[in-house]
């Protein structure tokens, strides 16, 4: 097995709110990002997917646990090694209206990191390199864009500038946090296709964060999906396994709940009903499995007392790991009867 390019070892992250409240946003995450894979983090709001992305990119430090970059603890990297890590992992933020400085031209936005990291020495080199980057993200003709300011571009164009900025440091990993959720449907796919092409053309590993499972499926068809719920990974496996043969109750419920752009299919879908509609607060997480108060397959005395760990499911032909005690102990899921 190859060494993961980035790895989480038992990573937790909490935030303080006020003087006493501690919000555990991520709890005991083990996650490996393999070189050149497509990895998708999927979950609803509050599940910790953005925090995971920020920790991967080095924008946040974990409260507990270690982040390994090419096998080395990121917290212990110093000097040039640390710089190399930060250059190698780049992030694309969700909102292209907020992530570009409105007072800088596109040339400025893209040339700062180039000068900062010594990729270019002078104006002429910088103009050339910025031009190349803009071409790379299909913002052509370059001359029309390079001296514009962000407000003169559409949302889709801005997001392309964001992507170009992520490429300035020749990264080996790009974390794309809901990178197309604010872009119109008709141009979403062209941006996504462009990102996907970078894996091959630029040897970039892509971590894609989204709440949209259908989009995740398209993006990571040849890779993996990790489904998150309230700060933990509840299921991780190869994409076709997750979307066609989901194991974890939460994944099953999610997939059954999503409407599809196909009238016959979406109207004949069987919806699994939850035991409760309420999402627990992160500050008042239920004991045991965080999903148990809502889980239709809840087992009294197991799910509400023990915290499940990721493990394979016996008899499942796929290779997904699932955090569900009854399942991983070989039980058949039976719908809970109250």
């Amino acid at each position: 097995m190859t060494t993961p390019i980035l790895e989480f070892e038992n990573v937790s992250r909490s935030f303080k709110k006020g003087r006493t409240t501690i919000i555990p946003v991520l709890q005991n995450i083990d996650l490996a990002v393999n070189p050149l894979e497509f990895l998708c983090l999927v979950g609803e709001s509050g599940c910790g997917k953005t925090t995971t992305g920020k920790i991967l990119a080095g924008l946040l430090a974990p409260s507990d646990g270690r982040v390994l970059f090419e096998g080395q603890d990121v917290a212990k990297l110093k000097g040039e090694d640390y710089k190399r890590y930060r250059r190698s992992v780049q992030i694309i933020h969700q909102d292209p209206y907020a992530s570009l400085n409105p007072t800088h031209s596109i040339y400025n936005i893209l040339s700062y990191p180039l000068f900062r990291h010594g990729y270019v020495k002078n104006y002429a080199q910088a103009r050339d390199r910025v031009g190349e980057l803009l071409q790379r993200v299909d913002l052509t003709p370059v001359g029309d864009v390079i001296d514009k300011y962000p407000h003169q571009l559409s949302g889709g164009q801005r997001q392309r500038v964001s992507i170009a900025r992520a490429l300035t440091t020749n990264p080996s990993i790009i974390v794309a946090d809901e990178a197309v959720s604010m872009v119109d449907v008709s141009i979403r796919i062209s941006i996504l296709n462009m990102l996907m092409a970078m894996q091959n053309d630029l040897a970039v590993t892509l971590v894609f964060i989204t709440h949209d499972l259908a989009l995740a499926k398209y993006f990571a068809w040849k890779g993996r999906i990790a489904v998150m719920y309230l700060g933990r990974v509840v299921e991780i496996g190869r994409t076709p396994e997750i979307t066609e043969n989901p194991q974890h109750p939460y994944t099953k419920v999610l997939l059954s709940a999503i409407p599809e752009p196909d009238p016959d299919r979406t109207r004949t879908k069987v919806h699994v009903a939850l035991r409760s509609e309420d999402i627990p607060r992160l500050t008042e997480l239920p004991p045991g499995c965080a999903f148990h108060p809502r889980c239709p397959w809840f087992v009294e005395g197991v799910c509400n007392t023990h915290i499940p760990q990721l493990a394979p499911v016996p008899r499942n032909l796929g290779d997904s790991d699932v955090a569900c005690i009854p399942l991983t102990q070989g039980a058949e899921l039976k719908l809970y009867e109250s």
């Binding site: 119109d184 008709s186 259908a214 999503i258 409407p259 599809e260 752009p261 196909d262 009238p263």
Partner: protein, 342 residues
Amino acid sequence: MNDEIVLKVEDLSVIYNSSRGPVRATSNVSFELRKGEALALIGESGSGKTTLSLALIRMLAKSAEINAGKVLYTRDGKTRNILDMNDGEMRAFRWNDCAMVFQGAQNAFNPVLRIRDQFLDTARAHGRNDKEWLRQRTLELFKLVRLDPQRVFDSYPHELSGGMRQRTLLALGVLLDPQIVILDEPTTALDILTQRAIIDVLNEMQTRLNFSIIFISHDLALAAEMADRVATMYAGEIVEIGGVNQIFYEPLHPYTLGLLRSVPKLSHGQDELVSITGNPPNLIDPPSGCKFHPRCQFASEKCSREAPPLTEYDAGHQSACWHVDKVIEARKDLYKKKVTES
């Protein structure tokens, strides 16, 4: 559903007067809404769907002007043109006859008033002062939208979750038994499971109360699930309108086809998606002829000269395109299942 028409929109055009010139936000829009039917307006941002729905209840911004058209509303056999109503009639029309649930509606409540007082306010403004009637009606509606009636009735908005607020708002929308409910992006900004609960509740409400729905969405999946008929909007115009199956399985407009091709599907194995090239048009200076022609794969010289009229091709299925035959040819592979490589 029956064939009784409750709303008939004829050639409606809205212009925003901006400093850079008039913006034609919707132009020559015509459609009919039948009793108990759900009509989806789908389109991207800037396609004029919100403007259109605001025009129906005359809640447009001051800079907007309805410069042509009719909106004919029928209740109990009486037909009136909404655009001719005076302010008093208009006030009575809103909520009694046509309610609107706005986008981001979770924030629509007054944070310092209890839910029950906000329901009372609405009822009073429309001349219903009977508190006992209101209580009964509200609790009954809360049960219908699957809320704990007494608890929500006495709550402040901040005590409710986003999904609960959205459901409370749906209940408020139908409080006075309107014939039409307009929903602007009813499930955007909600989580998947909350979204599911809202869809189920809406379907149930509609079956029980038999109102008509106009809902605006950029989410094709939602339209596929909830709509009886779908209208595709592009650059302020309805470019295609038809039954939900006609639109999704037999689209007749290149833009609708393009949208369907660019949406990832959860089932059907590996997707092959194609995006629509180019960018949405500038509405101050829209392209000549068919507004979609600069982005259209079938565009011919005629398309840039002459705007195609909305024409009926199948029963109840209209499209505004000169090259419907090419769309029919191209749509053949739309739902062909791709064999997945393992």
